[in-house]
């Protein structure tokens, strides 16, 4: 690039980049408008009884974050914490790009990015938010335009300058947590010292060639001198290394996937710190049962058609007051907490599944004593698979009083409920 970057060339590139940004914004607007039109068409007059409810997230957010919300370590509470969180990413390079992509994807409420550099061609093999047409553009602007396309729900703050001892406090104080994605000891000490003084947790990473290092600092972030607080960068490295021993990526080289994985780990630690309803660590991640999490692939066909009712039939039945019954919701608790039907009882599939089917328990502890012995039981789950398995199980255990009590499931589960009865039901 040396010598060729005339002002005209820079301007040309900026124009190309701005035009692309405009195209993307127009597409976003068109998408939003079509979504709005769709939702106003699907009004109550068409769908029958729609109960007006206030959900803490928008319909789009339930869809967007559903796959992480049903991870027990996150849940609806974790998602709301992420939405309320604000994270500062210092450096929009090899670490900051992947870290910010995952944090934007996860739904962090406010993301700030600090960087004074412009995009260079030599950045592109690892700095995944920038592209060829953005060469010459401010890294922060390039990064944020892509992040907006990924997730427009988030508030992005652009800080298009380098951190200095003069501006650092004003910037860092606006955020809950800081990611150090910089590339020099000077900025690392500056950020760490600031985080100690302002009591912000700090996730710091670095990479060179094929090595990467990750360290979570100042956690918990207690006032300076409090021995219960976590160590800071200066605690671990009291003396800075001699300047000639500091090797930059430009000098030492760096593999894209190496620095990429370090940035991704920073995002994981940040999500962990913000959403933490429980500890999510790499050890726990490795121990997670992915087969269980991914669920059953083949559709379940356990029940005969007379053992199942449609969601709209169930809604009719609810409207006939006095028709006493029990609605048994067998989704896991983390899902039940996201949304549930009034009056339903939650007994997760995993706990029921643990009971031996051949053992006859006519009155399990979850069955209300006040429920008449002939009142029907309807079983519901997310998609209508687990509910079939549980219905069969309940019948085999004798809760159906030898057929005098009706036990059946809602066909298609809450997916059908949303389609047939309540269009406002969050699809997570």
């Amino acid at each position: 690039m040396e010598g060729h970057n005339t002002t005209a060339e820079l301007l040309r590139r900026q124009i190309t980049a701005t035009e692309e940004e405009l195209k993307r914004l127009k597409a976003q607007l068109a998408f939003l408008e079509s979504e709005k039109a769709k939702s106003s068409r699907a009004g109550p007059e068409q769908d029958g009884p729609v109960t007006q409810r206030r959900w803490p997230l928008s319909e789009e957010e339930y869809k967007r974050y559903g796959r992480q919300m049903i991870v027990p370590n996150v849940g609806i509470q974790g998602q709301l914490r992420l939405k309320a969180a604000s994270i500062l990413i210092v450096g929009a390079g090899g670490l900051g790009c992947p870290a910010s992509v995952y944090l934007a994807g996860a739904g962090v409420g406010i993301i700030g990015i600090v960087d004074g550099d412009v995009v260079e061609t030599s950045n592109l093999h690892r700095q995944i938010l920038h592209n060829t047409s953005k060469v010459g553009m401010k890294k922060v602007d390039s990064a944020i335009s892509n992040l907006k396309a990924l997730n427009p729900n988030i508030k992005y703050n652009a800080h298009t300058e380098h951190l200095t001892p003069q501006n650092v406090a004003e910037i860092v104080s606006q955020y809950d947590l800081v990611l150090d994605c910089t590339d020099h000891p000077t900025s690392r000490y500056l950020i760490s010292d600031t985080c100690v003084l302002l009591q912000k947790p700090l996730v710091s990473a670095s990479a060179l060639r094929t090595d990467g290092q990750l360290i979570v600092l100042n956690t918990p972030p207690l006032p300076p001198g409090n021995e219960n607080g976590g160590p800071c960068y200066r605690c671990v490295f009291p003396k800075p290394p001699p300047a000639e021993s500091v090797v930059s990526c430009g000098d030492g080289g760096i593999l894209g996937p190496v620095v990429g994985v370090m940035g991704v780990l920073q995002a994981l630690e940040a999500v962990n710190a913000c959403s933490a309803t429980a500890e999510l660590t790499l050890e726990k991640l490795a121990a997670m049962d992915y087969a269980f999490f991914c669920g059953v692939a083949a559709p379940v066909k356990v029940l005969a058609s007379e053992e199942r009712i449609e969601a709209r039939e169930y809604e009719e039945l609810r409207k006939q007051r006095g028709k006493e019954h029990l609605l048994l919701d067998v989704r896991e608790k983390v899902q039940f907490d996201i949304c549930s039907i009034e009056g339903s009882i939650n007994v997760p599939f995993s706990t029921l599944q643990g009971n031996r089917g051949d053992v006859e328990i006519e009155h399990p502890s979850w069955l209300p004593e006040t429920l008449p012995s002939e009142a029907p039981i309807y079983v519901v789950c997310r998609l209508g698979n687990d509910s079939q398995v549980i219905t069969r199980k309940l019948k085999e255990s004798g809760i159906d009083k030898k057929g005098t009590r009706y036990i059946g499931d809602i066909k298609g589960g809450f997916k059908a409920w949303k389609e047939q009865v309540d269009s406002s039901w969050p699809e997570y």
């Binding site: 450096g91 090899g94 900051g96 090595d211 490295f237 290394p241 001699p242 090797v247 930059s248």
Partner: protein, 107 residues
């Protein structure tokens, strides 16, 4: 005194330090149990030994500065920070794993 006795240890380098040691990350060494004065060998002795006998690179100051392991290098003795083990005065035991990690700064 059995001055002929040796101790087998493993010394590892990472974060770029391996470049000072023939680009080998892992070195299996056999070190004498006692130094010239008859004292048990410790990490301080090992660092000098690495500098004089094992390092082929001439940039000794990238590893040792003013007689100490230079700032920015973490020393782990069997995966524990050497500050917990008495630093340079820690006496080497058979099959110890000593890891020198240079802090990285790139991003």
């Amino acid at each position: 005194m059995e001055s002929g006795n040796t101790i087998p240890i493993i010394v590892e380098f990472s974060g770029g330090l391996e470049m000072l040691f023939s680009d080998e990350r892992k070195h299996k060494l056999s070190v004498p149990a006692k130094d010239d004065q008859g004292n048990a060998v410790n990490i301080g002795w090992l660092v000098q030994h690495l500098c004089q006998e094992v390092m082929k690179d001439s940039r000794k100051e990238m590893f040792v500065l003013d007689g100490h392991v230079r700032p920015g290098i973490l020393v782990l003795i069997n995966d524990a920070d050497w500050e917990l083990e008495g630093e340079a005065s820690y006496a080497l035991q058979p099959d110890d794993n000593i890891l020198f990690v240079s802090t990285l700064h790139g991003g």
